[in-house]
């Protein structure tokens, strides 16, 4: 992909250093890069190549496609932080930077010489953003955890799954993406605050807290106020009915009917214009309140509902729902999302050419600014691709010095 000329962007002039090999740190600084910040990704010359292909940073199958996505619009340099000579280089980088993003537990960050206490002495205006599973303080601060561990600890998993079977996480590392987005927000909030406090600060983001603040507040509220413990209940929700995911002809649909009149409207869809015979002729159903239907006859009703639903496609059911004011929606697979007419109208997916991955459709920055639209103007950097540009340009190191650092394996 050729580099395209940059349009004015909201974060022009903001300089960001990213150290780490996690989705949370990479996606966080990508969000800043998408709005115009100059982001320099620091990679380890020894393990960088492996980090790009392994574990959570690779898509499955062809390695590296997820890496390419979460690192577009960035510069990349090599730096071996374990070598002594790197301490001075980190100082030089940090003096230039507005924000440093890292994802190591506190002791490791300290060992690497990138802890806030040290960095603030070098640049008091610097904002250091640390994204860790359990935060910078407390008994779990040195604990390591991945997406399913955090989803579990933050009380999501217990509520997803079939009753009595294994609790399930949210898929595709959702926790790390969420934490990344909160990180970008917090970093910008701190930039805003810096304009009147006149100083930088340390931002401590606990991934498990991000998750519970957004998704499990209800579980705490249910316990604290109502002494209830929520558990998983398979494909339908416990309390309200008939809310759930049901089979249809070509897949699944979701149904949400929160009020009695919506249930009635849904029954009218099932009966194609009237309450179906099997329902209206059954006194048990007719005499039971909307709220009790699920508890008493949920399974029986579902069989009858699906008898009709499985004769109709997602799209047919969706359109009937629209017409009759019942909230019915399809469960789409990836192909259907990629082909979605509404997203196509809004020109959502953008096709880019990545040197490693080839031609691929990316979700772009989801933020649509009327005056400063965001663009993907640069593919993910190759390992150390911008060594000259950053060490020479940003830091003003001479050719000899750069060569020497290279030959010593520092950069």
């Amino acid at each position: 992909m050729p580099e395209t000329k940059k349009q004015p962007q909201p974060l022009d002039g903001i300089k960001v250093i990213e150290i780490g090999n996690k989705i949370s740190t990479a996606y966080c600084s990508k969000m800043l890069a998408d709005q115009g910040a100059e982001v320099v990704k620091v990679e380890d010359p020894r393990t960088g190549k492996q980090d790009r292909q392994e574990r959570i940073l690779s898509g499955e199958g062809k390695p590296g496609s997820l890496f390419a996505y979460v690192n577009c619009n960035k510069f990349g340099i090599k730096l071996d932080v374990e070598q002594q000579a790197s301490a001075k280089i980190i100082e030089d980088l940090v003096r230039q930077a507005d924000i440093l993003v890292e994802g190591y537990t506190p002791q490791t960050a300290k060992d690497m010489g990138i802890d806030y206490h040290r960095l603030r002495q070098i640049n008091p205006n610097l904002i250091v953003l640390s994204i860790t599973p359990f935060g910078q303080t407390g008994p779990y601060c040195e604990y390591n955890a991945y997406a399913i561990n955090i989803s579990a600890a933050a009380a999501s998993s217990l509520c997803i799954g079939e009753p009595g079977r294994t609790p399930l996480p949210l898929p595709l590392s959702q926790v790390h993406f969420q934490s990344a987005a909160m990180g970008a927000t917090a970093a910008l909030g701190a930039i805003f605050a810096r304009e009147f406090t006149g100083r930088g600060q340390h931002i401590d983001i606990s991934e498990s807290e991000v998750w519970m603040t957004h998704f499990t507040g209800h579980a705490v509220i249910a316990f604290v106020f109502h002494n209830r413990r929520r558990i998983r209940s398979g494909h339908k929700t416990q309390a309200l009915y008939p809310n759930g995911i049901f089979h249809c002809k070509d897949g699944y649909i979701t149904l949400l009917a929160m009020r009695g009149e919506q249930w009635k409207a849904f029954l009218n869809i099932l009966g194609e214009g009237k309450i179906p015979e099997w329902y209206s002729s059954d006194e048990r159903f007719m005499k039971t309140t909307f709220r009790e239907l699920n508890l008493k006859y949920g399974d029986e009703l579902e069989v009858m509902m699906e008898k009709w639903l499985t004769t109709k496609t997602k799209e047919e059911i969706f359109q009937l729902g629209r017409k009759n004011h019942v909230a019915l929606a399809p469960v789409k697979d990836v192909r259907e999302v990629l082909e979605d007419a509404h997203l196509a109208y809004r020109k959502y997916f953008v096709e880019v050419e990545d040197p490693e991955v080839g031609k691929v459709k990316y979700p772009p920055s989801a933020l649509r600014f009327s005056k400063t639209p965001s663009v993907i103007h640069r593919p993910a950097p190759k390992l150390g691709e911008h060594n000259e540009e950053i060490y020479g340009g940003w830091l003003g190191y001479g050719k000899t010095k750069i060569e020497e650092l290279k030959s010593n394996g520092v950069i």
Binding site: Q136, I148, I160, L256, K332, V334
Partner: protein
């Protein structure tokens, strides 16, 4: 008292239900002045939805509402009253930002779209987050986060391998929009401060949620494969699952990605069979995963989930107890970090409020006020924020606009 990060930032809040209020809650908790415009004539769905404190229905008693509306002022204002325009005009002149999350087109019909507000305040920044954005064939669809989980494809990935898709206990997309929206607001403020220009930001909840599904999308595009549902399984780790522990419905999620973690795991468990050659590499462990998982569970069932987590974490093996709401409210890590704020709500009383997951060392968020009762601050806002004189306030009151 320490400084607040967003002190002085003025926010006009038309938002309701979840995505918008969650966004403005962050702004308020970090110090912005947020005025929520509400009306008893069309009260926020969350205000009038169960669960209510003590099971007693009431517009100020929703326990979910109090969770999402700390530190905000509530101003009663009927947007359909002809006098509302005059009041909104004053707000627009005062505000830096305006946040709304109605179905696309609704504010325009009321006369408070971006173009209307821009006329009142040329450099206003307006953030709009509708289910599917402000434009396109589905923009006018009413919708719920619950559905977007399906429409985005997220549910396609949620569930056991070979099983049906399973619903999430939350309106997932409602909580993706807030961080994106906030990042956009700060970026727009930076831009305004440099150029003097405001703008409108369109955050589609459909589009923000799809961002987080990129691993699955890339798998389809690059590897031509629908990843689908895989439960707890992960191609690049084993063990990688939630395992049954001592007690009723108690579990611990354990993940082993690296050889180092595997070595540590074997030392903690102390079962010589695990040290056999067939389990030594990740490839081997994936091949014999079913057998492996049975052996892991044969160990975990002997201990409480907390004990399993502690033993493994101390050996640097990632693990997390599958917690419930009660566990969270007693969690030692959360209490150490003062995650819960003790707040006193006018009708609900004292309660532990879930604070913010972001700590800023110099300008931390604080819980200064519990969620407001509807219209609690109408007088205060009119006098102190909009600078109305008594006669003006009385005149507007007579018109019935403050309901």
């Amino acid at each position: 008292m320490t400084d607040l990060a967003l002190e002085g930032l003025k926010v006009l809040d038309f938002s309701w239900v979840a995505a918008g209020p969650k966004m403005t809650k962050y702004l308020a908790d970090f110090g912005a002045t947020v005025v929520r415009l509400e009306s008893t004539k069309n009260a926020c769905t969350i205000r009038v939805s169960a669960p209510f404190k003590d099971g007693v229905r009431g517009i100020n008693r929703s326990t979910y509402f109090v969770g999402m509306n700390t530190n905000k002022y509530s101003m009663a204002l009927d947007l359909k009253n002809p006098k509302a325009k005059e009041v909104v005009h004053k707000f627009a002149k005062w505000a830096d930002l305006c946040v709304e999350n109605f179905t696309a087109g609704k504010l325009e019909r009321l006369g408070f779209g971006y173009e209307d507000l821009k006329k009142m305040k040329p450099d206003i920044i307006m953030l709009r987050t509708a289910n599917q954005g402000q434009t396109g064939p589905h923009a006018a669809h009413q919708g719920f986060g619950y559905h977007l989980s399906g429409v985005t494809g997220l549910l396609h990935f949620t569930g056991e391998a070979g099983g049906d898709p399973l619903p999430l206990p939350v309106a997932y997309s409602d909580m993706i929009a807030p961080p994106f929206g906030l990042a956009a607001l700060f970026a727009a403020l930076e831009y305004r401060d440099r150029t003097g220009k405001g703008q409108m930001i369109d955050v589609s909840q459909l589009e923000t949620t799809i961002q987080f599904l990129t691993p699955g999308i890339l798998d389809y595009e690059v590897n031509h494969k629908e990843t689908g549902r895989k439960g707890n399984l992960c191609d690049s780790a084993a063990p990688h699952d939630a395992y049954r522990c001592l007690g009723k419905d108690r579990w611990c999620a354990i993940t082993v990605f690296t050889d180092e973690q595997w070595g540590a795991f074997c030392r903690v468990v102390g079962n010589p069979v695990l040290e056999e050659e067939r389990f030594r590499t990740l490839l081997g462990r994936k091949q014999h995963e079913e057998e492996l998982n049975l052996m892991v569970e044969a160990w975990t069932v002997n201990f409480t989930a907390e004990e399993v987590m502690k033993r493994l974490q101390e050996a640097r093996v990632p693990a997390g107890v599958v917690q419930n709401g009660e566990d969270l409210s007693n969690d030692p890590q959360l209490h150490h970090r003062n995650y819960f704020w003790d707040l006193d709500h006018k009708e609900i009383g004292m309660y532990p409020h879930l604070g913010e997951p972001i700590t800023l060392s110099e300008t931390p968020p604080t819980g200064r006020m519990a969620a407001p009762c509807l219209g609690e601050h109408t007088d205060y806002v009119c006098r102190e924020i909009l600078g109305m004189e008594d006669y003006e306030l009385e005149g507007l009151k007579m018109s019935g606009v403050f309901v």
